[in-house]
Symmetry: C2
Subunit: 800 residues, 2 copies
């Protein structure tokens, strides 16, 4: 334990450790395997819970505690700082099948041909996920394009009218009001109907794929709010993108289709019942997330890599191939529909919601001399990204403290919308950057005070959807923007985007990041061009692309998948190497300067990273596990089960099952593991027999009974058990998982972590040399160790 730098609060562990460890009146024993524990720790009378590892003798307990673990036991009074907390309110998903008799019987009944049918169903579902995700992306794109077009035309007409006769403040008012009212609707539905639809949804999907259950995250209602919300945010002119939310949308679609029913709509199509468990559902959600990325950026390979990076801990060739299939179908659907919509039916030129346009490798190739320049841009992107994240972190803290009421959140969103319009207007108004209208591809050229036949260049950046602005910055010919325009735009947009990120609206941060980066990248390219006296290689568009990559890398800090996404979005593999260098530099620099970037959103979620902290070999399962553990016996009294499940102070979800015979003094080893959800179904179906009539055969359940209840199992309170029934006995043998994964107490934390993470477990039983249960390791026990600035840190656990 020597390496643990900060023990913030042991009380957090001792008192609140109630996912699977149970703390009663006695102080828990960190090491429950002493000889005393073996002798007196188990009270096998039917009337009391079986708490293995807990001693009845408090004094002895304390002694052993003092002897065996020299842990500082001061209990600080102040509330621990927010950052060092790990929330206990999130449940875990279980990516390990409960291999009980029912499951095995079903699997054994299924023959080879039937497995092929299941496999074909998986492919069909993936195709449907791809198609639907593509269609949703089309819908968003077309609606945004039309509504935003309408808005910009109205405002442009108004500005054109008032430029001549004065009174442009009316135009400003019109613009600001339009934006604020659209954003108000978008914010209202999110804040009041489904708060989980706020933001891009990427952190939530990451958590889901990681194994953390975020309530409502894959519901149909969330999808509807998300889609409407993102349309309204973009139309409302906020500094946001519609790409990030596609990942969430794809995931919801996948979760919905694969289960063959919608709980929101109360429809059960009675199909795909085989897939109603966490393992299968996760695979489909991975495919949905990939399809979302693919539709957003036209990057099918990037989508697959995103899913793998975030979710699938165990790489499986068939699964990956299916995910890729969904991705490809998704971008192909989007491409076909948008091509038809745009009239050029068969040319397939819109693979994603954002297309970076065609980078001609001959015109815009790079040379080896430019590599150091790209690396320098990566450094800049990393620093700016760290700054962005730091500012946003403080803002988020402020919001958590002061802007937690929904109506305040709506007001803030409206304020941001109005300010965005105002800033844009003032910038355009003050800009004197006029460019000839001829030969440019500007959608809504604002003349304002420019000469006839010219337009205001600042307006191409501000008076446009961000996607279009990015593409303009990449591809407009050299000289389309004054350096001053670009500098002012970067500065303003940086702060606007920073303020916008985290508002209670559905919106993504990808596009604003790209836009900021493209602006300063282009500025950088122009400066280079000046410095080198207009050398041909200093194409501003190329530097805009590298700047965009650097800024995005500095903010989101993704690695492989982002490189591939950027490569695919440019449609050109030539830029792969410089993009990789830029992203890598940005990430390294950002990580060095920055805060715990991603973890801002996730700080109290029990998120499992790739590996245990490097210095955690000093901890063993014995120190990490929760103890004592509430165990059940193989044949248990119904009343005991009900009492255990009803105990609100503890809310365990998995219970080791141990040998049930109370007559023998034989050592009772672990026999299996049963889940709360399974017990609930058993109680609901009254699967038990009277104690006197042990010869009576318990009612048999089918796997279908468990599947029908998945994933929303009723609470124990909703199940009525009469006093007579409480005295009945329930035989768990058939329903428990007889081969749960176990680790010995001596296993080091990295070893436990690897097993837990690789197999996507929810419960891992710690046993001693005689296979007796001594503790339980769950997600929170592993997630609470973190590598801080000063070494290994341990987070406190809290119910918040």
């Amino acid at each position: 334990m020597a390496n643990v730098a900060k023990k913030v609060s042991w009380s957090g562990r001792d008192r609140d450790d109630d996912e699977d460890g149970r703390a009663g009146e006695t102080t828990p024993l960190l090491n429950g395997t002493g000889p005393g524990a073996a002798g007196s720790g188990r009270q096998l009378t039917p009337s009391s819970f079986l708490r293995i590892g807990q001693l009845s003798n408090v004094d002895l307990n304390e002694d052993i505690h003092e002897l065996e673990t020299e842990v500082p036991r001061q209990r600080p009074n102040e509330i621990p700082h927010n950052e060092k907390l790990l929330s206990l309110k999130y449940e875990s998903l279980d990516y390990d099948n409960s291999e009980n008799q029912l499951f095995l019987e079903e699997e054994r009944r299924i023959n080879h041909a039937a497995f092929r049918t299941v496999e074909i169903k998986r492919w069909v579902i993936c195709a449907m996920i791809g198609i639907l995700t593509g269609l949703v992306a089309c819908f968003i794109d077309i609606v945004v394009e039309n509504l935003a077009g309408l808005k910009y035309r109205v405002v442009k007409d108004n500005i054109d009218k008032f430029t001549a006769k004065g009174g442009l403040s009316f135009s400003l008012l019109l613009w600001a009001t339009l934006n604020a009212s659209v954003v108000m609707v978008g914010s209202l539905i999110v804040a009041f109907i489904e708060p989980v639809a706020a933001g891009s949804g990427i952190p939530q999907i990451k958590c889901y794929l990681n194994g953390v259950k975020i309530p409502h995250v894959v519901r149909l209602k969330t999808l509807v709010i998300k889609v409407c919300g993102v349309i309204l945010s973009v139309v409302g002119g906020l500094a946001v993108g519609k790409e990030g939310p596609m990942i969430h949308s794809g995931s919801v679609i996948a979760a919905g289709i694969s289960q063959g029913r919608s709980t929101s709509l109360k429809r059960d199509f009675k199909i795909f019942e085989y897939f109603r468990r966490d393992t299968e559902k996760r695979d489909f959600v991975s495919a949905g997330a990939a399809a979302g990325v693919s539709a957003a950026f036209g990057a099918p390979v990037g989508g697959v890599l995103f899913s793998l990076e975030e979710g699938a801990s165990f790489w499986n060739q068939f699964l990956t191939w299916r995910i890729f299939f969904a991705s490809m179908i998704s971008t192909f659907t989007l491409n076909s529909v948008l091509s038809v919509y745009h009239g050029n039916a068969w040319d397939l030129s819109s693979p994603g919601l954002i297309n970076f346009g065609r980078f001609d490798s001959e015109k815009m190739g790079y040379t080896i001399q430019e590599i150091p320049i790209f690396i320098f841009m990566g450094v800049v992107g990393g620093i700016l990204g760290a700054l962005f994240n730091a500012l946003n972190y403080w803002l988020t803290m402020f919001r958590i403290r002061y802007i937690h009421r929904p109506c305040l959140q709506v007001v803030e969103a409206m304020l941001v919308a109005a300010v965005t319009a105002t800033v844009g207007f003032v910038m355009i108004y003050c800009s004197r950057d006029c460019q000839p209208i001829q030969g440019s591809s500007v959608a809504y050229p604002l003349q304002l005070f420019c000469a006839d036949g010219e337009y205001n260049s600042m307006a191409t950046a501000f008076f446009n959807t961000p996607e279009k602005s990015v593409v303009n910055l990449f591809h407009d010919p050299p000289g389309s923007y004054n350096p001053m325009t670009l500098g002012m735009f970067t500065l303003m947009y940086f702060f606007l985007a920073c303020w916008t990120y985290g508002l209670t609206v559905s919106a993504g941060v990808f596009i604003p990041s790209l836009l900021i980066g493209a602006a300063w990248g282009r500025l950088f390219g122009i400066s280079l061009s000046y410095l080198t006296k207009g050398s041909i290689w200093a194409d501003p568009g190329k530097y805009a692309l590298m700047g965009a990559a650097a800024q995005l890398g500095g903010i989101v800090r993704m690695t492989l998948s982002l490189t591939v996404i950027m490569m695919e979005a440019t449609g050109n593999v030539t830029y792969g190497f410089p993009i990789m260098l830029v992203l890598m530099t940005a990430k390294i620099v950002g990580d060095y300067f920055g805060l715990y970037d991603m973890h801002i959103q996730l700080q109290s979620v029990p998120f499992l990273h790739w590996e245990a902290p490097v210095t955690s070999h000093s901890l063993t399962a014995r120190e990490v596990m929760s103890t004592p553990v509430t165990c059940l016996r193989r044949i248990e009294r119904v009343g005991t089960v009900v009492d255990i499940l009803s105990d609100t102070s503890s809310n365990h979800n998995g219970f080791p099952v141990v040998e049930s015979n109370p007559d023998t003094t034989q050592v009772a080893g672990l026999r299996g593991l049963i889940l709360r959800s399974q017990l609930i179904v058993l109680l609901k179906h009254k699967v038990f027999v009277e104690r006197a009539n042990r010869s009576l055969v318990q009612r048999r359940l089918k796997l279908k009974d468990f599947r029908d209840a998945y994933p929303r199992f009723p609470p124990i309170q909703s199940i009525h058990v009469s006093q007579d029934e409480r005295e009945c006995m329930i035989d768990l043998s058939e329903f428990m998982n007889p081969s749960p994964y176990t680790v010995p107490q001596e296993a080091s934390l990295p070893r436990v972590f690897k097993l837990f993470r690789a197999l996507g477990l929810r419960h891992l039983v710690v046993v001693d040399n005689r296979n007796e249960v001594v503790g339980m390791v769950t997600r929170k026990d592993l997630a609470r160790y973190r590598l801080g600035k000063e070494g290994l840190e341990e987070l406190s656990l809290a119910q918040t």
Copy 2:
């Protein structure tokens, strides 16, 4: 056991099951947990081996056997058919760290900063792997280009000379002799110096990454032979490519660099000692394989996906990012050096050994109507691929039976070289396909009987390196080839490639596959163009590309990684969707028609696939495991250890360690696992104490002592242990892994498989409810179950 369709030979199991299960005089007991087993199975006297699970009472054993397992016990006399065998001669790699005290002490000593140094070293090694792999690829490319150029110039001059004055048979003789002699050298070095360098090396690397130790596969000598061999094969005009072998070369480079020493050169640079274990070495070999793919095809992302598909069962973001880094560096190095070599220093136009050339998406875009055509091409590719594999399978069988002597192998290779030249010559001679020389990009235009200013079109296909022929087929303008030329070429090259694949030369099958496919694809495109009366969309180059993808997919049956490799090689993401469709169709059709494609090479290698066979839930660990198991006690007599290790009839590599106290009757549970290699090092360093002087402290070893011996541990025969020393005691506590992974007997085969595969284990101990050892599961126990045509099959085990 009902689903097991064929029990080919139980004798194979009972007699030869000697990696970790030990079969003595008594018939082994499939279920060793009966009450009798617990009582009499352990003989704790120091003079006998501890064989847990084995009964001393043969009769009882037989009874229980008959009672508990109803296995047909006929022992067929004929030798089982070759296909149904699983070889026992391959050892396994262990991707699980042995977390013994030494290891933990070292890990605990290393602080956070030191871990950062280790991490930086990893990046440096990856950069070096990338650079060296790129340089090796450059070397191969430049040497091949020059030698092949020399050869073709000599032959061309000769042909030109004799065309005028007659006597072209001299030219044929010259060509055939040149080819045969070059191939002879290439075949000689492979056959006599390092046979493992034959072929592409991809199956060997797949096995290595899967965890099977193929002797010599990552040695420096292999690399040298491989590089020379591939140069000679390509220069010798065989129907082979130099791309596949790059994957093997990259892997050897990676293995060499990461270990910081070369056993072949007997040099130890005393660096990177931390990485001297299977886990770390595998990670670097993955990076090397990826760098090889990247250099071969200019496909860094494809390389990463190849490595992941084949090897890394547990996806880790940092690892993937490093692999990608190595890939990128590799293609970048190759690109830079080749650009400098070709004189256009900074344009970076050669990302890989083969470049498909520039596919202009505007000129060669596809439309939705073409998708069914592409799918049809996939079907054709699948059928042709299956045919290719079937022919090659029969040929391989023939070779195994009759051409197993090295000199015969050399003769066959020479014969193939001469025949290839002859076929090419005859085809060129008979062809009347003359094309105007102007505007074409043919390197060695053969005029032959064409008019002045024209060249023989067949010669562009045959009289060229296969890489150049592929690119010509993709990009030559419509009309460059007669349909007749293409048809004849496809037919001839198909059989030549089929005959060549499997020769004792270093060579890859990628390029010949692409070439065959490109030829019939172009033929298909021309036919389409005729049928549609020269529609603009029927560009033959596009169909050549799709044909190449279809044929390659039909032969090698890779999925995601191949799609990405093809996408990257075309440098254009537009073709992603059709390429995916074509590859998917080709694979499905090929799998339906074909034999067990990949398994031809691997048939008796204990290769673990992604998942256990779908219908294998009927089997449990109890039926799968090897039993009885030779166990050691925690404090063991040296003589016993030596005897166990010396027992040649069994060749176990891992031994469960159980409680050592023979005085108590207490149940003795599993305490740890120790490896043969560790025991060897202990014996070598005489780490034991005299029995009388138990108070003496055993000599302490350092982790370095184990690392220095890695990976070539000496055999037990080389260690002399005197009679006195035999009576000493050895304490294993400090060296054994105290927390080996275990499974209960009830766990189903898919569950055991998942644990084993996900964590890359070598030994998995099966325990009963009291944590007593009842069996051991190793790679061969899992690899022997296979899904055959009629359901689950079980392979026999054999020492071949």
